[in-house]
């Protein structure tokens, strides 16, 4: 498995494309900024959302019971899956019991996390993603590169080519409206033919047993209402206590995610429609472990809005496929190590720690701080690598003693002065591949300062 640094270097080889990717996401970030400034008390809303999440997750078991009771009273069947495997098997069992061999699906990062599509396909169920972006990457046999804009890495010409191959659109057709129309016609057939539909869940309300799904394309409404069986899947963290809490989260979600005041569709599902079966699968898959962790429990507050991806200067310039975990970017970086610290040990280092992620997070997760703490976990587990550890250990030893530190500085200054320029500014070193070293003053600060104390003169200004 290639590390983020290696994959990102590959991504950046096409500088034009990298800038296009950066600009596309920055556009969303700016849209977000404009909208949040128009909401009075935005920062207080974030605090409130954080407090609600903290409370709900600290009292999870009682809210789960309350939700189950209320959802069941409305005619839904609630299932609990401990992990991805159980989640996948449960869904297959529900489909098999009804003889369903075609599943229409709206967007769900949880099913990506669980690897549901591959599992169902290998068990003879055709899965059709009905979110446009998801359908594009499903045709391309890729994974989402972004949480809410899964095909953001594809240019419209590439989408045209994919649709030409799979949907028979005209060769060279890349007009977004024409392509969307073609997808619409194709997906209508699937909506009408599918005996079962599967959706994700944005919020589940304990006091009413309702699930809330936010989309822009309306596909979730078709997936949840047309088929005779609707399966909704959700992580345990989607639970909120009361309906009124939605007034906080719905104001935060779309603004943070895409810079819209609200998603085009916000559907509140209170039980199945008459004659329909509704299953709600509540999945843990490691979430209780996150909640138990003192250092990292806030990661479980995440709404999957992807604001941290859009703002991340590293994500914008490396793309979602350079992160090896299914959830990319800053939030993926603090979720992946819970899954497998060794396997994803490169991810916490794919950050300049600028902190913008934490500043946009609508539920105020301390993302960049958790990234540093994960680096520490990696070091303590012995996964940093021998060379890096040794360099940092030596530097520490030198810097623990001011005299040795001063001597090392003097030696370095002399070496840099005497050595020919190409010796230190060559392209073989990691720094020198793109950057020169700074021009060092002939005398150290220490010796200049000493002279200043002796003479009272601090030398001349540079300008």
């Amino acid at each position: 498995m290639k590390s983020h640094a290696v994959l990102a270097a590959g991504f950046l080889k096409d500088a034009g494309r990298a800038r296009w990717h950066d600009e596309a996401l920055w556009y969303v970030r700016e849209k977000r900024d404009r909208l949040v400034r128009s909401v009075p008390g935005w920062e207080e809303l974030r605090d409130t959302a954080h407090a609600i999440k903290r409370h709900a997750l600290a009292n999870l078991s009682s809210y789960l019971e309350e939700f189950e009771r209320n959802a069941a009273a409305r005619g839904a069947v609630v299932h609990y899956a401990a992990d991805a495997g159980e989640h996948n098997r449960m869904i297959l069992d529900i489909l098999r019991a009804r003889g369903a061999r075609l599943l229409a699906k709206s967007k769900s990062m949880l099913t990506e996390e669980c690897g549901l599509n591959d599992f169902l396909e290998s068990n003879g169920v055709e899965v059709v993603e009905t979110d446009l972006g998801e359908r594009i990457i499903q045709f391309a046999r890729e994974r989402p590169s972004h949480i809410v804009m899964p095909a953001i890495h594809k240019k419209k010409e590439e989408v045209g080519e994919i649709f030409h191959r799979h949907l028979g659109t005209a060769a060279g057709e890349s007009d977004p409206t024409a392509l969307t129309r073609a997808a619409r016609v194709h997906l209508r057939e699937k909506f009408l033919a599918a005996p079962a539909g599967l959706s994700g869940v944005n919020f589940a309300v304990a006091e009413t047993g309702a699930i809330i799904i936010c989309t822009n394309e309306g596909n979730a409404d078709l997936v949840t209402s047309l088929p005779d069986v609707h399966i909704a899947v959700m992580g345990v963290e989607k639970l909120i206590p009361r309906s009124r809490d939605l007034s906080v989260f719905l104001r935060l979600l779309a603004r943070s995610a895409t810079g819209q005041p609200v998603t085009a569709y916000t559907s509140h599902l209170l039980g199945p429609r008459p004659g329909q079966e509704m299953h709600i699968v509540i999945v843990d898959n490691g979430r209780s472990d996150i909640l138990k962790s003192a250092r990292f429990h806030r990661a479980a507050f995440c709404l999957r809005c992807a604001a941290c991806l859009n703002t991340c200067p590293v994500f914008r310039r490396s793309g979602g496929h350079t992160y090896n975990y299914v959830i990319p970017g800053p939030i993926g970086t603090i979720l992946a190590p819970h899954r497998d610290l060794k396997k994803y040990k490169d991810m916490p280092f794919a950050s300049s720690l600028c902190g913008s992620c934490s500043a946009v997070c609508p539920v105020k997760i301390d993302i960049h701080r958790q990234i540093v703490l994960w680096r520490n976990e990696i070091v303590e587990a012995g996964y940093l690598g021998r060379v890096k550890s040794a360099v940092l250990k030596t530097a520490t030893a030198v810097m623990r003693n001011a005299r040795i530190f001063t001597a090392a500085g003097a030696l370095g200054r002399r070496a840099l002065r005497l050595a020919p320029r190409f010796f230190y500014n060559n392209r073989l070193t990691i720094w020198g591949k793109t950057r020169d070293l700074p021009q060092l003053p002939a005398r150290s600060f220490r010796s200049q300062y000493k002279a200043y104390r002796k003479t009272g003169k601090a030398g001349e200004s540079r300008d």
Partner: protein, 232 residues
């Protein structure tokens, strides 16, 4: 030495304790908390007994203020430690918040781009981060620079994008790091800046390295050098 001259000009009684080395940030940011803690101990020992610690670097200041609590847990009740983590200030912050000086006499007739280094911006609040809904406020450092005669602060298209240095990030992820730096330079060039100014030497070292390799007509200056260089 610009910082020394600035403090001199302000009439502050100060000294440079020769025993100091590094705050431990490179180790901390790499996850080597044990190594960082050894250097944090040394900083604590070196700076015992001072009223304030002034540091011409936002990220080192941020390291001490934000993260020393994580490293030196057993010292958390030591009054000297509390003083260190609450009274360590970045230079501009010291001038503005502690000395209460918000304007600087003198002129500096140049077009300057203010690079708001991330730790100072979001960690210390030296500016107003663009993510926050707090529009209308002006950052502290911006205010100080704007008070200089003749100085024109250029408008960047991204007011506080990270330059990509990120400590050891610059060598762990050199390609992304350099790409970010070049984007930062391009933004300053488009805005017509002659000088990129910052309160963090490390960002400037990274940006200067990229400028010199490409022989761009830009230069970098620490804010202390600008304050010091402003002719009265």
């Amino acid at each position: 030495m610009a910082a020394v001259r600035v403090l001199d000009r302000l009439g502050v009684e100060f000294e440079y304790p020769p025993d100091q080395t590094c705050c431990g940030q490179p180790m901390f940011n790499s996850g080597c908390f044990r190594d960082a803690a050894k250097l944090a101990q040394k900083i604590l020992k070196t700076f015992r007994g001072y009223d304030h610690v002034v540091c011409p670097s936002g990220s080192c200041t941020g390291m001490i203020r934000e993260y020393y609590d994580l490293l030196l847990e057993e010292e958390k009740d030591d009054p000297d430690f509390r003083r260190l983590v609450t009274r360590t200030h970045e230079l501009c912050e010291f001038i503005i918040d502690v000395l209460g000086i918000e304007t600087w006499a003198g002129s500096f007739p140049h077009k300057v781009g203010l690079h708001q280094s991330c730790h100072g911006l979001r960690g210390l609040g030296l500016g107003v981060p663009s993510e926050l809904a707090a529009s209308g406020r002006t950052g502290k450092v911006r205010k100080l620079l704007e008070s200089l005669g003749g100085l024109e602060l250029v408008t960047l298209s991204r007011s506080d994008e990270c330059c990509g240095f990120g400590g050891t990030f610059s060598v762990f992820e050199p390609d992304v790091s350099s790409f970010m730096g070049l984007d930062r330079l391009a933004d300053h060039e488009r805005a017509g800046a002659e000088i990129i100014a910052s309160y963090d030497v490390s960002c400037l070292m990274h940006l200067e390295g990229l400028i010199r390799r490409r022989k761009k007509p830009l230069r970098v200056m620490h804010i202390a050098e600008i304050l010091d260089g402003a002719s009265a």
